[in-house]
C-alpha cells in the first residue's frame, strides 16, 4: 500500500512540476477561450436568438447565462479528457526516458504501477479541472448565475465522471505508445479533435445527420451533454418561469445538445449517466486485460 501511495505521489509531483506538460494540458481550454472570444460567443448568441419566436424579449442576463453556460460546459467537458491525456503521458515518458525499466527492476507489481498512474492522473486532472470549474462559476456569477446548489453538486460529479472516463481512455491509448513523437501526435490529435467529436466546440445539431449519428456512438458526447444539462438547467428553469413556451425552451435545448437523439430517439439524462458509467467500467476492464496481456508478451520478448 505504501508503495502505491509513494508512486502515486511521485506521478502527481512529476506532472505538476513539469511546466511543459501542464501548459500542454491547458492548450485545449485556451483554444476554446480563444475561439469563444473571436467568434464562438457570437455563434452561441445567434443560435439562441434564432430559436426565439418573433417579438420575444429576452433579458441580457438570460442570454449571458445561456452563452456562459454553453461555454463553461464545453470547457469543462473538453478539459476533463484532454488534461487527463496530458497528465497520463507520464506513463509513456517513463518508457521513453528509461524510468519504467528502472521501476521494473524492483519487486513492485505491474498492477501497482498501473494503478498508481491511473490514480495520479485522476488526481492531477481533478485538481486542474476543479480549478477550471471554480473559475467558470466565478465567470457565471459575473455574467448571469442561475445555478442551484444541486446543479453545482451535479456539475462537480460530472467533472469526476468525465475525469475517470478521460483517464481510463488515455490509459488504454497510452499503453500502446512508446516514443516522444507518438506522445506529440496523440496530444495534438486529442487537443484539436476531441472538442469537435464530443460536441464541445460546435453543437452536434449543427453537423450533418451522418456525422451526428456517428458521434452518438462515442461516449464523450453523452458526457458533454451531461455537463451542459447541469450547467444550463438553471437558465432553462428561469426561462420557463418567465413564461417562455416549452417549445422554445426545448428548441434551444435541442440546438445546444442538452437534448440528445440516438437515431431520432431521445436520450434521457439517466441514460447519459448509464452510458458514461458503463463505459468507464468497461474501459477499466479492458485496461486491466491489455496490461495483463502486454505484460506477458513483453516479458517473453514478443513486443
Amino acid at each position: 500500500m505504501s508503495t502505491f501511495f509513494y508512486m502515486t505521489k511521485r506521478n502527481i509531483k512529476l506532472f505538476l512540476k513539469d511546466r511543459g506538460m501542464v501548459f500542454t494540458s491547458l492548450v485545449t481550454p485556451l483554444i476554446l477561450l480563444l475561439l469563444f472570444a473571436t467568434f464562438l460567443g457570437n455563434v452561441y448568441r445567434d443560435t439562441f436568438k434564432s430559436n426565439l419566436p418573433e417579438g420575444f424579449e429576452v433579458s441580457d442576463k438570460i442570454i449571458s447565462g445561456l452563452v456562459g453556460g454553453e461555454l463553461c460546459s464545453s470547457l469543462i467537458a473538453v478539459s476533463c479528457v484532454t488534461v487527463a491525456f496530458c497528465a497520463n503521458f507520464l506513463m509513456v515518458q517513463d518508457k521513453v526516458n528509461g524510468a519504467r525499466d528502472d521501476l521494473m527492476t524492483s519487486p513492485v507489481k505491474q498492477s501497482t504501477l498501473s494503478l498508481a498512474y491511473y490514480v495520479a492522473t485522476v488526481v492531477s486532472t481533478l485538481v486542474i479541472c476543479l480549478i477550471a470549474t471554480a473559475l467558470c462559476f466565478v465567470y457565471l456569477a459575473c455574467v448571469g448565475w442561475f445555478l442551484s446548489f444541486a446543479d453545482v453538486m451535479l456539475i462537480l460529479s460530472d467533472v469526476v465522471i468525465l475525469t475517470l472516463f478521460g483517464t481510463v481512455l488515455s490509459s488504454i491509448i497510452n499503453t500502446f505508445l512508446s516514443s516522444q513523437g507518438q506522445i506529440t501526435a496523440v496530444g495534438t490529435i486529442m487537443s484539436a479533435g476531441y472538442g469537435f467529436i464530443c460536441g464541445a466546440y460546435m453543437p452536434l445539431s449543427q453537423f450533418g445527420a451522418a456525422v451526428r449519428n456517428t458521434v452518438m456512438f462515442l461516449p464523450g458526447t453523452y458526457g458533454t451533454s451531461l455537463v451542459r444539462n447541469h450547467m444550463m438547467g438553471g437558465v432553462f428553469g428561469e426561462m420557463t418561469a418567465k413564461g417562455f413556451p416549452d417549445g422554445v425552451v426545448e428548441g434551444i435545448k435541442d440546438s445546444v445538445d442538452c437534448n440528445l437523439y440516438f437515431f431520432d430517439k431521445g436520450v434521457s439524462v439517466g441514460v447519459m449517466y448509464a452510458v458514461m458509467l458503463v463505459t468507464v467500467g468497461l474501459l477499466i476492464g479492458a485496461y486491466v486485460a491489455i496490461n495483463f496481456i502486454k505484460g506477458k508478451k513483453k516479458k517473453s520478448g514478443r513486443i
Binding site: 505504501s2 508503495t3 509513494y6 526516458n97 524510468a99 525499466d101 527492476t105 516479458k299
Partner: protein, 306 residues
C-alpha cells in the same frame, strides 16, 4: 572475496523470433567479485541482464541468483540486485530526496527506515548537500552518484553496472570507479559490469566475453592476456631494418619500434641474444583490447583511457 557463487547461469537460451540472442550461455560469479561481461552491441549482454533482472523470460536454462531461482522467486532476486543504467533513469523534475524516496518505496522502505538509509547513502556517496536540488540541475558526476545511491537504496548484494561510464568525461569516470571501489571494500558488494572500455575490464577479477550470444572466452584478465595475446618489446632508438631481420613482426608505434613475440620467455631470450640492438626498451603484455580483438575478431568502440 570468497568462493561462494552468488550468480549461476547454466545453458541459458533466449530468442526473439529468428534472432538467437543468447545461446547456451553458462557462467558464474563469485561473491564480492568484480565481474566484467564484455561483447559488442547485440552480443547478448543486455538480454542476459534483462533475464537476470526478471524483465524478460528465458527460453531455456537456469538462472540462480543469491540462491533463488529466477523461475520461482523473482522478487527475492530483484531484492538482491541494484542496477545502474547507462543513462540516468531517475526523474529530472524531482529533487534528489524525492527521487530516492519514491524508489525506496518500491522495496517497502518508507518513513524512518528510509530516512536512516538516505542518511547512510548521502554520507557514503557524499551528496548530503544535494537533497533539495532538482536532479535535472545536477552535474554528470553528481547525477551518477545519485544513480548509484538509487541502485543501493535497498542494500542489494549485487550491483549491476550496465555500461556505467559510457559518455562520461574522464574525471567523472574516475570518480565513479573510486565510489565503486569504496563500496566493494566497505559493503562487500559483488559488481557485475558491462563496459565498452577495456581498461575497466582489465581491473576485473573475472571476465566473460560474448559474441553472437555465445561465450567465446572467460578467465582472469591475466589468463586471457596469456592465452590470447602476444608480449611486445618496445625498442626506442632502434633500427627498423636490423630489428625486422630478427624474424618477428615489427611496426612503428608511438616513436618506438614494437616487436611482437609469443611470450615473455621469447622476449627475454631475444634480448639476451641481441643485446646490441636493445639498449633502450620495455617488455609488456598485450592488453584487453588485443584479447577482445583476437577472440571476437571485432573491436569494442571504447573511448580514451582512464
Amino acid at each position: 572475496m570468497n568462493s561462494e557463487k552468488i550468480i549461476e547461469i547454466n545453458n541459458l537460451n533466449k530468442s526473439f523470433k529468428d534472432v538467437h540472442a543468447v545461446r547456451d550461455l553458462s557462467f558464474s560469479v563469485r561473491r564480492g567479485e568484480l565481474f566484467a561481461f564484455l561483447g559488442v552491441n547485440g552480443a547478448g549482454k543486455s538480454t542476459t541482464i534483462s533475464i537476470m533482472c526478471g524483465k524478460l523470460t528465458k527460453d531455456g536454462g537456469t538462472v540462480i541468483i543469491n540462491g533463488a531461482d529466477a523461475d520461482g522467486a523473482p522478487a527475492k532476486i530483484k531484492n538482491s540486485l541494484g542496477v545502474v543504467f547507462q543513462s540516468c533513469a531517475l526523474d529530472k523534475y524531482l529533487s534528489v530526496y524525492d527521487n530516492l524516496q519514491s524508489r525506496a518505496a518500491l522495496y517497502g522502505i518508507t518513513g524512518d527506515k528510509f530516512k536512516a538509509r538516505y542518511k547512510e547513502l548521502s554520507e557514503l556517496l557524499h551528496f548530503t548537500d544535494l537533497s533539495k536540488r532538482t536532479l535535472g540541475k545536477l552535474s554528470g558526476g553528481q547525477r551518477r552518484r545519485i544513480d548509484i545511491a538509487r541502485a543501493l537504496v535497498h542494500k542489494p548484494e549485487i550491483l549491476i553496472l550496465d555500461e556505467p561510464t559510457t559518455g562520461l568525461d574522464p574525471q567523472t569516470r574516475k570518480l565513479l570507479w573510486r565510489v565503486v571501489s569504496d563500496l566493494r571494500e566497505q559493503e562487500g558488494l559483488t559488481v557485475f559490469l558491462t563496459t565498452h572500455y577495456m581498461e575497466e575490464a582489465a581491473d576485473a577479477d573475472y571476465v566473460v566475453i560474448l559474441d553472437g550470444g555465445r561465450k567465446v572466452a572467460e578467465g582472469t584478465p591475466l589468463e586471457l592476456k596469456n592465452a590470447y595475446t602476444h608480449d611486445y618489446i618496445n625498442v626506442y632508438g632502434g633500427d627498423m631494418g636490423e630489428l625486422s631481420a630478427l624474424g618477428y613482426p615489427c611496426r612503428e608505434a608511438g616513436g618506438a619500434i614494437r616487436i611482437s613475440v609469443p611470450d615473455t620467455a621469447h622476449a627475454a631470450a631475444l634480448i639476451s641474444e641481441h643485446r646490441e640492438l636493445f639498449t633502450d626498451f620495455e617488455i609488456f603484455k598485450g592488453n584487453m583490447d588485443d584479447v577482445f580483438l583476437t577472440v571476437t575478431g571485432k573491436e569494442l568502440s571504447g573511448g580514451e583511457g582512464l
